[in-house]
């Protein structure tokens, strides 16, 4: 009898120590939102081009304006960013070919490898900000809350990167309920320090694609540093294949 009691006590202790089976949270509807966010950001059937106007506020340097031509072919993971202004950076280009991102410097006519995780020039935007979203494949849901942002009801979703291919390991998204618009992002470092806040106050619809046409990226490490990006001259016309090549960047610079 005494032995029996010992076994029961041991079992109870085991359960207490190991804990009751965790209640698995169901994130399937949040994961579905992430998939929709990714899908509605991709130009799968058409090419896409636009002009990005970037206003970079820097506490040390003041305000600078950049004008960048953007060409995207999401079916094939390609993009080309060609800088038109300022004059000293004119012709510099970023060419994405699958996993490879190349930077071109016309002053030396040389290409060098760079990364999607790096800042775009001296702005607060990252090179990864200029492609389509990959929330569902690059992140897993850590949790979510329901709340409001201004007059909008939103899901506040905590994401954790599944690999190191994205610029930030932790991201918090404010996504409008029903309409799936990302209004705000907060991006964190590995130590969960807030690095950057993104605000997306203007959207437009191009075919099936819903895309922000005004973005603000706030550097949370250096107060006062901020970059606003507005998108104009949007086109979904076909872009010749040769545009997504090194040879094109070299030739357009001649």
């Amino acid at each position: 009898m005494k032995n029996m009691m010992s076994v029961v006590v041991a079992l109870v202790l085991c359960v207490l120590v190991t804990g009751l089976p965790a209640q698995a949270q169901d994130f399937s509807h949040i994961e579905a939102i992430l998939e929709r966010l990714d899908a509605q950001s991709r130009f799968d059937n058409t090419d896409f081009s636009s002009v990005l106007t970037m206003v970079v506020e820097d506490v040390e340097k003041g305000i600078e304006k950049m004008v960048v031509r953007q060409f995207r072919r999401d079916d094939g993971e390609r993009f080309l960013l060609l800088i038109q202004e300022p004059v000293t950076e004119k012709g510099q280009g970023y060419l994405l070919e699958g996993d490879n991102l190349w930077f071109y410097d016309p002053s030396s006519r040389q290409f060098a490898h760079t990364s999607l995780k790096e800042n775009f020039q001296d702005s607060d935007a990252r090179n990864a900000d200029f492609g389509s979203n990959s929330y569902s494949s690059s992140y897993e849901v850590e949790g979510y809350l329901e709340g409001t942002l201004g007059n909008f009801e939103v899901y506040i979703i905590d994401l954790k990167a599944v690999d190191d291919t994205v610029p930030f390991p932790f991201v918090k998204l404010w996504v409008t309920k029903d309409s799936d618009l990302v209004l705000k992002t907060e991006e964190y470092s590995l130590t969960y320090r807030l690095m950057r806040t993104g605000l997306f106050p203007k959207y437009t619809k191009v075919g099936d694609v819903v895309m922000p046409v005004q973005m603000v990226f706030i550097d949370e490490l250096v107060p006062g540093n901020k970059t606003q990006i507005s998108v104009s001259e949007i086109s979904v016309s076909d872009i010749p294949d040769h545009v997504f090549t090194k040879a094109y960047i070299e030739r357009v610079n001649r």
Partner: protein
Amino acid sequence: MKIILTIAWRNIRQHKVKTLIIGLIMVIGIMVLVVGNSFMDSAAAGIEKSYIQNYTGHLMITGESKGYLTLFGFQDTTAMERAVPRIPEYAEIVEFANSLPYVEAINPQVSATAMISRGDNMIAATQLFGILPEQYQVMFPDNVELLEGDFWAPGEQGVLLNKTVVDLMEKQVGFTFRPGDKVLFTSVSTLTGMRIREVEITGIFQFRQSNIQLDMVSLMDISNVRALAGMVVGHAAPADLSADEQSLLGAIDEDSFFDSFDSLDSLFAPVEVEQDMSDDDYWYSLLGETESRDLSNLEDTGAWQYLLVRLTDEGYTRQAQIDFAKFFADNNTAAQTRDWMQAAGSMAQLSSGIKSIFNSVVFLIAIVAVIIIMNTLVISVTERMGEIGTMRAIGAQKGFVRRMVMWETLILSGLAGTIGILLGALVLFILNRVGLEASNMFFEIIYGGPVLRPELSLSSVIMSFVVIVVVGVVSSIYPTSIVMKTSPLKAMESSR
């Protein structure tokens, strides 16, 4: 006075155990102080000499700027945010420097940090010093040891790669780099964005006096470093902003940012989708003319970030700082001087910081020594209560007894101090002969190089002696006060 000294000396000899215990503590204490301080002084002097002779000169002239500007660029939180300023009125400053009789040599430099790549791979990073080889070698004749190749010829371009950097590169690609090979250097300048330069390796070298920071420095021709540092003649035009863009300038309240949007529709902006752009002319004329770009990107040939100044004697440093400050003020030139320590950057500062920590430890040891000596003296003086009481009873004044105890301690301190210094000198002599090899990077930083040969420093002898005498005197105050509070009668009774 003679009587006091005689009695004090007699007491020291009579109480042999007490003398031995306190004396030993003092000998060990002073030996630790002498060796420790000489060690740190040797390290500090080595770092200073090494930097002044090989990298910084006595003074560094830069454009006026706030923040922690070093020869390696800004080493504070703004490092990535701003460019090192150019020296204004450079030619006039050089002319003035050359006119000063105590200026021995000057050397201009530009600094940039770059990634090195070969083919598709980024293989290492290096700190680049853009220099004029002839002038650099006059200023720092002994710091470069060429292992392969040579400096680039005057008027030509090239890079002299540091051996440590080359080792890192070779480890990455499994390829041996030789003079004549070309590699790509990529840097990000806050002035002109990313820049790439392909540069031929003309040689591989190592600094004779180095540390982990200097091991990452390579020397490159000034034209390429200026390009990598964004030192071009063009400037970005003032930003012309639309009303929409202006509305988002300045601080944004992230929490209330969306309060003004009342519906989903208010988030959507109508955008006109442009039409076909298949014309070849369109694609190849996207950038328009590029001549103005090329003109803007011409090298700013007169531009330098640093002017390093070596003086005929270190004693002129203060004078030189005053003279340059006056010259800058008189000519309304936005430039300033910085001393070698600032120029040297974080490694020299780190060594200095470690020395401060060591001094704090010495201070703590002194406090512990005071407590131990005080305790031993209290016991010793209490044991002699009867003797002191008798002395007081036959007419010895309080001051006489106080002076007697103090002189006892001072004689003991003097003897122990001398022995401690001699022992410390012996230890330092042996360490100097043997040489202390830095077993890791931490010690290399403290030593200021791979081997430290400490020397007995006069300042450490004086400081240690002062500390031990003060410790002795302070230690004698408390036990003396105990004796003074006891009446002569009671003191005599306690000895029965």
